[in-house]
Subunit: 390 residues, 2 copies
């Protein structure tokens, strides 16, 4: 049945009202948040752009190059190469494409060291590319055991059939916000000439702006290109960067990695395409540029400090009610121990609170994104207490 414009907009408004809104503070398990207000105006301006065919949208392409340089800059890389893409999943799959293509032994599966706590995008990559994952045991900090990695590589790297083709480390893991000891892992990777990819999809817009007072002694917060072996980093402006979706990011140390991704693109203004996805809007690219120029490092520092302050506030309140965090928060993610997290999560949902759960440990998972305020935390802890009492 055909509708007129008014009917269409009214019908869609009704659907939209069924969605949760970030500003209501009930979304506590998402790594996305309300984009910065300026991004609405920017998105309107770049609504029709398509970076899948950059020769047609040369201005938007220039913005992308600048965004990559700006992000490279706060990742300690003066000569970065990369793309603003659909999100962390595409970025991580892209890094795995490189590792697969760099792997010399075609007769066996590419072998990659991947943390137990890795995001499920790595599972998609494994399934598609037939990668073999080696998952080191976790330390009591929920990070990869560095000694295990060192020993494993020493034991296997002389034998081409058993050699490790790549390592993935995480800076701000999805479940607990922990950061692998990337400084030490980088040393091992460098010594053994192994490709090292860092998934900082979440942490990339947090760690560079984190005040010293929030840093935990038992974690090493170094994760970027200042570490010699780091070849690529996933870092998403549409998470803590306050850009709208789609704005994921993949940054390489330099453009020498492009050749491992290029596919011939005969119909386009460019002859080759390195991104996994073809057609892609410039909305996220231009918004990321705008938000970064507007906020600057100081602006992000303020946002991160507020989120960290709320994180510690949540932990304090939770403890008052007898709930214990799994670890002291490393970033703005809190995991609260729970004997039946799936059930608690479901019960909370029934009364309108949306947290998520950890897989590696029995816990509820709460992300203190910029849309979460202290009053939401107060209400939430009350709701959690009532759910656990019944």
């Amino acid at each position: 049945m055909i509708m007129d414009e008014k009917e269409v907009l009214e019908a869609l408004k009704k659907y939209r009202e069924m969605d949760l809104k970030y500003e209501d503070g009930r979304i506590l398990g998402s790594m996305c948040t309300k984009p910065h207000p300026i991004s609405r105006k920017i998105s309107e301006m770049f609504f029709e752009t398509n970076l899948g065919d950059p020769g047609l949208f040369k201005g938007t392409k220039k913005i992308e190059d600048e965004v990559i340089h700006m992000m490279g800059n706060f990742l300690n890389n003066d000569n970065p190469f990369g793309y603003i893409i659909s999100g962390g999943t595409e970025a991580n799959i892209t890094a795995m494409r490189i590792i697969k293509n760099l792997s010399i032994k075609k007769e066996r599966l590419p072998k990659v060291i991947v943390p137990e706590t890795a995001h499920f995008s790595f599972e998609k990559a494994r399934e598609m590319m037939d990668l073999e994952y080696i998952k080191p045991p976790l330390t009591n900090c929920y990070t990869m055991d560095v000694k295990y990695i060192k020993d494993y590589i020493e034991d296997n790297n002389k034998n081409d059939n058993k050699k490790i083709d790549g390592i993935v480390a995480i800076a701000g893991c999805t479940e607990l916000g922990t950061i692998d000891n990337i400084k030490e892992i980088s040393k091992i990777a460098e010594e053994n000439k192994i490709y090292l990819h860092v998934d900082a999809a979440f942490g990339g817009f947090v760690i560079p702006f984190l005040e010293e007072k929030y840093k935990m002694d038992n974690y090493n917060y170094e994760f970027d290109f200042s570490l010699n072996a780091v070849s690529s980093i996933t870092i998403d402006p549409h998470k803590m960067g306050l850009a709208p979706i789609p704005a994921g990011g993949i940054i390489f140390r330099d453009s020498s990695f492009k050749k491992y991704l290029d596919v011939e693109a005969p119909y386009l203004t460019d002859t080759h395409q390195a991104t996994l996805i073809g057609t892609r809007t410039g909305i996220g690219v231009a918004s990321a540029w705008g938000v970064m120029k507007l906020l600057g490092k100081e602006g992000y520092k303020n946002i991160v400090s507020k989120c960290m302050d709320n994180t510690h506030y949540l932990v304090k309140k939770a403890k008052e009610y007898g709930f214990e965090p799994v670890i002291n928060p490393v970033l703005n993610i809190v995991a609260l121990k729970d004997d039946n997290p799936s059930e608690t999560c479901l019960k909370l949902r029934q009364i309108g609170w949306y947290v998520s759960i950890c897989k590696c440990v029995g816990a509820l998972r709460i992300i203190l994104m910029p849309h979460v305020k202290k009053e939401h935390i107060d209400e939430f802890i009350g709701a959690l207490a009532s759910v656990k009492k019944n």
Copy 2:
């Protein structure tokens, strides 16, 4: 350097002015176009949505389900399953994931019959998933040779090591707009129980709305779920569907295929995720819904008829100037024979005209999208004539 809001918007405006605009009629080689005006209003409304976590955005998720049913409806499928995703590349990779996962022999590469004229997204899929492509010769209609396919399958399908795991056919190929003889291919696939995927990224919003008078005798325009073996179709609302990017589509015959795509998603409101990309905006989904409700089948029919009318107008004008089409246009795509298409393409670009080229035959490629008007065609043919004279 930090900027204020005004400075940011002014700087971005300057970049945006370096882009081409669809309404200027100079973009003649793109399968994207100016989205329908209503999609700006809709995108504003759904700006913050994330279908990567559908439990948080239940209204937007309902819209997606409805869009899939609406699209299924004009593809002759009352019980469709699918997603609105980033574009044709993700859709085609998704279909290849299914074929890979359905392939029973894990000791050898999955074998897929793929047209010579297939979009380069299939090359990305091949590279990632180590697929083996069998490319049948092309007929003089630039479609796959059906007899070759039949013979190849008969010769090999008894032997598990040589068995074909999937067939890809195209309805509206990127280069020439041709349509494979999917009716006959479907019969072969059905007899031999082979998965058949149809790439109708472009043709999906053209062929169902094409008036009989535009159909060529030497092509079979049947391509959808009315053919028994068709299991999945790529169909992009952000091409001829007039939705904004990102709005690609993958539609399956039914939900039984979901299990071959599902990956465990412990942190989300859903326990599993079937799409390749995780986080995804609802902008394209809601816009596709809105544009489809507003235009209806009649509206799309009018748009397609105008584009086809312009297509034949271009061919007529081209012939007047001595340029010959490779084939009579099957859809709104024209390929003009050229002895050095790369050079001509470059020369045209230097004077502001953006066509692209064919790979399978020496020709310039022009797509008559809705933003291309008759006056643009007149100007373009004049420009082409002047370029070829010099």
